[in-house]
Structures are given as C-alpha cells and as structure tokens.
Amino acid sequence: MRLAGRFGGAALSLLMVAVLGFFLFRVVPGDPVVSMTRGRPTTAAMQAELRAQFGLDRSLPEQFWSYFTSLLRGDLGTSFTFRRPVADVILERLGPTVLLVGTATLIAVLLGLWLGVRSAWRRGSAFDRVTTGVSLTLWAVPTFWLGMLLMMVTGDLFPSRGMRDTDTAPDFVSQALDVGHHLVLPSVTLVAVVCAEYALVMRSSLLEEMHAPYLTTARAKGLRDDLVRRRHAVPNAVLPAITLVFLRFGLVVAGAITTETVFSWPGLGLLFYDALTGPDYFLLQGLLVVTAGAVVVMNLLADLLHGVLDPRVKVV
C-alpha cells in the first residue's frame, strides 16, 4: 500500500515537471527564431517558415498538447540550435556529465562521510575544528571563482578546457589517460564544494547518536572504540545522510552548470547554459524533464533503500 503510494507520488512529480518544463521556458526572454538566424540575412517569409516548421506559429495550448503527446511517446522534439532530435543531443552529452559529476560525487560522499564521522567522534579536537572550518569555507565560496583559482594555482599542470586533446593517440589507454588528466580540475572543484554538505550532515547526525544508551551497552560488552563506532553508531547515524546522498545522485544527471561552463566540459550543464542563450525551447524542456526525472527516481530509490536499511521503516 505504502509502496504504491510512493510510486504514485513519484509519477505525479514527474507529470508536474513535464507541465512546468513547458511553461517555464516560454517566459525566458528572447526569440528563438531570431537567435537561429543571427548573422545571416533573412526575410520575414523565411522566419515565418521556420516558425511553422517548429510549430511556433500555433497557439500555446496547441503547442503544449503536441509537446505533451510526443513526450508520452518518448519524443522530446527537435532542437533549434542543433537541428537534431533533443533526445540524441542529450544522450550524447550524458556520458561526460555522468563521468565528471559521478566521479566527483562518489569521492565527495566517501570523503565527506569519513570526515563527518571522524570530526563527530572527536568533537572539539583540532581535526574537527579544521575540517568543519575548511568545509564551511569551501561551501561558501562561489564555484566558478574556486574553479578559476584552481586553474591559476595549478598553472599548466592540468588542462583546463574540454575533455580530451585532439592530438591524442586513438588507442584506449592513451584516450583514458587523457580524459583522466582533463578530469582533475573540474572534479576537484566539485568535490571541494559539495563535500562539506555530507561532512556536516554526517557530523551532526552522529553527534546526536553519540549519547545514545545503546552505545554504552556496546562499550560495556567490551567492544573496542572503533567497533562501537563502526558497528553501532554509524549505521544509525548514516540514515539521514542516505537521503541526501541519493538526492545528490539525482543531481548528477543535471550536472554542475557552473563547473562545466568554467572548464568547458562538454556535458549537460554546458548544454543547459547554451540552450538558455537561444532560448532553445525543446532542448530546455527535454533537459528539465530528464534531469528532474533523475532526481525524482533517485529520491524514490532513497525512500526504498531507507526502508531496507532501517527496520523501523516499513515500506511494503
């Protein structure tokens, strides 16, 4: 019963995203046809033809209906700027984003949770004070500024633009090394910014558990301090962090718009940025549906996983 409710809720959220996605971007200033034809001599007749081709001459409800019915068939429409199906464009950019944001999120989660556990367990220690201070500072720093700062500090050590060099040998190993090399700066930037969130959430939720009587029981049984922590305290304290981690996994797909823009990383974030300058309605709608859908699905997964990890929560 509750499981059905969870799925129903997720479906409803997706529907609302689809509706919102259509109307939201119609208010973005700018005329797509003008941007499409910028720099080329065009006549009013050509513009009208373009409008007709993309269905922009029809009324808003008509446009919405055709958008919505094709969405149900899995068709996200055609991008103005790329003159190709939106789904293809998004799919092409998905790989780089998942690589960058996925790597960064994974590192940030592991590092953040570890930092949070250690600072809570030794609350008030030098380690705790330094960790909390540094992560708060990094969190407060604007991402683009941090990215540019890293570029300046590291000099020519790491490439700062794009995902691969054009002159790399075509074999897999050289390609992988090249991509890895390009990955360093953007992922370090992302980790530095989001790690703090995990560290702070983990720290505060472990601090709440620290005085739980069952930890005294565990100590009285003769468990070593690190076993008390690993086996008893952390499994309880990690539960609130799980939800956050999964929400973040959902955002992986959305990418990190600023980071990708600063480092010209050819992912969804950069695509979003480009689409907004159009505005490329169909691309924007498609991006919103895909990214919001990922968040909704991940949130649903987090709920289900919470039910598995915490026996007090009955999902089914």
């Binding site: 005294t216 029981t217 009285a220 003769g222 468990l223 070593r224 499994p235 990890l309």
Partner: protein
C-alpha cells in the same frame, strides 16, 4: 576468597560537583544486593564506575575491585576482556539500550563472539522464557517486557559472575515487572550469580535482594539485611523512602478522607473507541462525582489512556456519550473549548510536558491566553502558582523548567491547569516519574486541592498503591473494558474479578 566486587572509598566528581562521595561496599559471590536512592543520589554512577563506563569528564578516585583486580588501573585490553565476561549490566529502558537497527539475536551473540564464549542464542532466549524465533526480531517489534528479557539474556551471554541491573523494570507496568523480576531472580539463584540491583523503588529491591544499601546525595547512608533495613531504618532518609511507598491495606497510607455520595460531574455512557480495526475502548461506563477522586487502573495497552483522551475531547468516539455537568459534551467549536477549560490534563513526565524555553510564568499563563480569560494575568498566575505550593511565586515565575526539580516541574504543570479554575483534573500517571519523597508531596497536593477547591480528579495509573493512597473509587480496566469498579476498600481489599486479583498479586511487597 576475594569478594566479587569491592568498592573502596569510591569518589566521583564532575567538575566541582561531587556525585559519589567515599562509598565503601562489598559483594560476596552469589550475594544479591539492592542499591536504593532517588535520582541524583549517585547510584547509577556507581554502577557505571564498576565497568569504567563513566564519561571522560568524570574524575574517579578510590578503588573498584572486581575479583580483587582494580578496574581503574587495568589496561584497555584487560578492561575490555573483563567487561561483560566478568560483570555485565542490564540497563534501564531497554528500548534505547538496544541498537534499533540490529536484530536482537545478533546483539545477544555479539559479546559471545567477542569474548569467544560458547553457547547459543536460542538457549539464552529460552532461559528468559522467550521463544527462540524472537532472535530475528528488531527491538521495536518487541514489547517492553520482552525487550527487558532480551537485555537479561544478553547480560548472561558470557556467563558473568556479577550482574548489575540498573532500574531493570522502571518503565514496565506492574504485571510485566513481576514477570521480569521473577525471571531475573530465578536465573540469579540457579547460576549462583552476584547481583547488584539499582532502583528507586524499595519494594522492587525487597522482592529480589537479600541485602540493601541506601544512597543519599552521593553517600552511602545505610547497609544491612533488606528486612531489617526496611523494618527498622536507622537513617532518616531510609525512613522517608520506606514511608513514601504506600502499602495497600494499611490505613496509615490511606490519605483520602472518606467522601459521601457526590452528585455526578462526569458521566461516560457505553463509550466505544476504535483505532482502525482495533477496538481500544469497548463499552465503558464510568462516573466521576463532584469533588471525587477516581483511579482508573490497568496495564499498559488496556485502553485507559485512550479513554482519557476521548473524555478530554481529543479523540472522537465511535459511539457512546460523555456527559459533563448534566450536558452532553460537544465535539467541536466553542462549546468544546469551554468544556476543555473545565477539564484540565496533567501528564506523566513534566520535563517533556513543559516547553523548555518557556519560563514558568508563560507556561502557566498560556491557558489564560488561549481561552482569552479576562482579568489581571499576573495576579491569576501568581495565585495558581502559590496554590500549587510554589511559594513565594516570585521566586519561580522567571525560572526555566531545567532550573527546577522534577517535583517543582510537576507543580508548574498543575499550576497551569489550576489557573483556569477547572472542576476536573485528568491526571495520567501524575507521580510515576517522580522520586519517592516528592511523590508523597504531590499526592498530598492533589488531596488538598480537592478539599479546598472541590476539585475532582480522574487519575490514570498502573500503580495500585497510588490508588490506595488517594482515590475514593477505583475502576479496573482490562482489554478495553472496565472489569470491576467500586470503593477503594472494596476493590483493593476484596476484589471480585480475577484480573484485579492478578494485578494485586503482582504488586511487590516490602
């Protein structure tokens, strides 16, 4: 032969505050010793000191000899080996002392694996009279009594020679308490264990322990055979503790003055309350007269709290009627609000009933503001606070709850009820969380309010001693129905229903 446990000049400080002061105590193998005292007497600190479990902030002096070995000077490795294998603890409040996300079987098995003790979880569960399938249960799937049995099974897992039980039955109702004490007592006797049992409840200790020690403000004030200590207390604090626990049938503990046949104030007629498919209250008839004190007794889960909530208008009944002062109680709107002003609720735990950030003045004045009572707020609040015997009121009005003792907090809750000039108090376990000495004062206060203001009370409790002390009439509730009601003397001294007799049998005797 070494004593099992010996405390020599044990002193514990938290900063400048001394919580245990120069305590000397010995426990021979196979001996059972009760350690009694009120909250803050230092008795739990002693228990924690035995296995060196006190927080870092505690400064411990003196010696704690476990089988002749000083716990304070042991290496960490040696200490971990001694913990649970030589001495184990049955903690209070098993809900929080068991890890909520591990199966209880794993939690019982954990110390066995750690210390390399052979044995099986199933056998341990059988010893505490739990079916072996319960090993797969999580703590929240068990009842309070079952959880406490799991704690006992866990404590015996590594075959210790000393078991420390810290308030092992405090949160349990009287019938379950009797069962848990019986299991613990039987196992201690069978396995010839040393038992150090800590409780604020002398009758529980009298039931289980041969010897009794009494702590007061960090000091050990009395030690002797349990019967002698209780019969002839030498220290005034021990005397106060023994006197505070009412003995059912003893006229000296019957504080309520005999009342006549008062006019009915509250009448409940054939009330039924359902939670989904569960029938919590099943056709209850109950009357509280003007100025009468009625005790509604029963075990946890008997439906007594649901009944009280429905009377207050906090739940809608499935059928039946609640009549107050001759008129049916409204379920909504202004009439319900007016009714609620006349019927005030006093909850069990004052520390959670009071908002920790509201000063006494605001806590008491809140009711006046909610009901828009005209008049001088300060004068009304002061009068109510003094009625609740916090005198002079000016000393308390600006205090925050955490600056007050448990008894003072409960008086603030009562003042908050009195300020609205109610005619009926519904009190849910009003003294269960209070220390013995304070408990008597609060009981006396409720009786004085009845005498001076004609205030009627419906007291919900599983404590039959409290009913004997304070009530005019008793109603016994069992599985949603009232199985017996009548005058206190009749119900408690000559019970006619089997369930009432079972409840009375379960009451520990001093």
């Amino acid at each position: 032969m070494n004593p099992l446990l010996e405390l020599r000049n044990l002193t514990v400080h938290y900063g400048p505050k001394c919580v245990v002061n120069d305590v000397n105590l010995t426990l021979a193998p196979g001996q059972t010793l009760g350690l009694a005292g009120e909250s803050g007497s230092g008795k739990s600190t002693v228990a924690m000191a035995v296995l060196r479990l006190l927080p870092r902030a505690a400064r411990v002096r003196g010696e704690v000899l476990l089988d002749g070995d000083d716990v304070a000077t042991m290496s960490w490795g040696r200490l971990r080996a001694v913990r649970w294998a030589s001495a184990s603890i049955v903690f209070q409040g098993a809900m929080h002392s068991l890890n909520p996300v591990h199966r209880v079987g794993d939690q019982i098995a954990e110390p066995m694996r750690l210390h390399g003790t052979p044995g099986s979880v199933a056998e341990l569960l059988e010893q505490v009279e739990l079916p072996r399938e319960k090993a797969r249960a999580y703590p929240h799937e068990l009842s309070g009594g079952q959880r406490q049995r799991v704690m006992i099974a866990m404590a015996l897992a590594c075959g210790p020679r000393l078991v420390i039980a810290d308030e092992p039955t405090t949160a349990l109702d009287v019938v379950v308490q009797a069962q848990v004490l019986a299991v613990l007592g039987r196992l201690v006797a069978e396995q010839d264990l040393g038992l150090l049992m800590i409780s604020h409840d002398l009758s529980v200790l009298a039931e289980t322990c041969d010897d009794l020690a009494v702590m007061h403000r960090g000091e050990l004030v009395e030690r002797g055979r349990t019967r002698e200590v209780i019969a002839n207390p030498r220290h005034p604090h021990t005397a106060a503790l023994t006197a505070a626990f009412p003995v059912i049938g003893d006229p000296a503990h019957r504080w309520a003055e005999p009342a006549g046949e008062p006019e009915p104030l509250l009448e409940v007629r054939d009330l039924v309350v359902d939670y989904g498919r569960t029938r919590a209250v099943d056709g209850v008839d109950l009357t509280v007269g003007r100025g009468e004190i009625v005790a509604l007794v029963g075990q946890s889960g008997s439906g007594k709290t649901t009944l009280a909530r429905t009377i207050m208008g906090l739940r809608t009944p499935s059928s039946g009627r609640v009549i107050f002062d001759g008129a049916e109680v409204a379920r909504t709107g202004r009439a319900l609000k007016a009714f609620r002003r006349q019927v005030q609720l006093v909850l069990q735990d004052p520390s959670s009933a009071l908002n920790p950030r509201h000063a006494v003045f605001d806590a008491v004045a809140e009711g006046l503001r909610v009901h828009g009572v005209p008049g001088d707020e300060e004068a009304l609040v002061t009068a109510a606070v003094e009625r609740a015997e916090l005198r002079p009121a000016s000393l308390y009005l600006e205090s925050l709850p955490h600056e007050l003792s448990g008894g003072q907090q409960q008086r603030v809750v009562i003042a908050g009820a009195l300020v609205l000039g109610p005619r009926l108090l519904v009190a849910d376990e009003p003294v269960a969380s209070l220390d013995a000495s304070v408990r008597g004062e609060v009981v006396a206060l409720l009786l004085r309010l009845r005498r001076e203001l004609g205030l009627a009370s419906l007291i919900i409790t599983h404590d039959l001693g409290l009913a004997w002390q304070i009530a005019d009439r008793v109603a016994v509730m069992h599985q949603g129905t009232i199985v017996e009601q009548g005058s206190v003397e009749k119900v408690l001294l000559a019970p006619s229903h089997d369930y009432t007799r079972a409840l009375l049998r379960a009451v520990p005797r001093v």
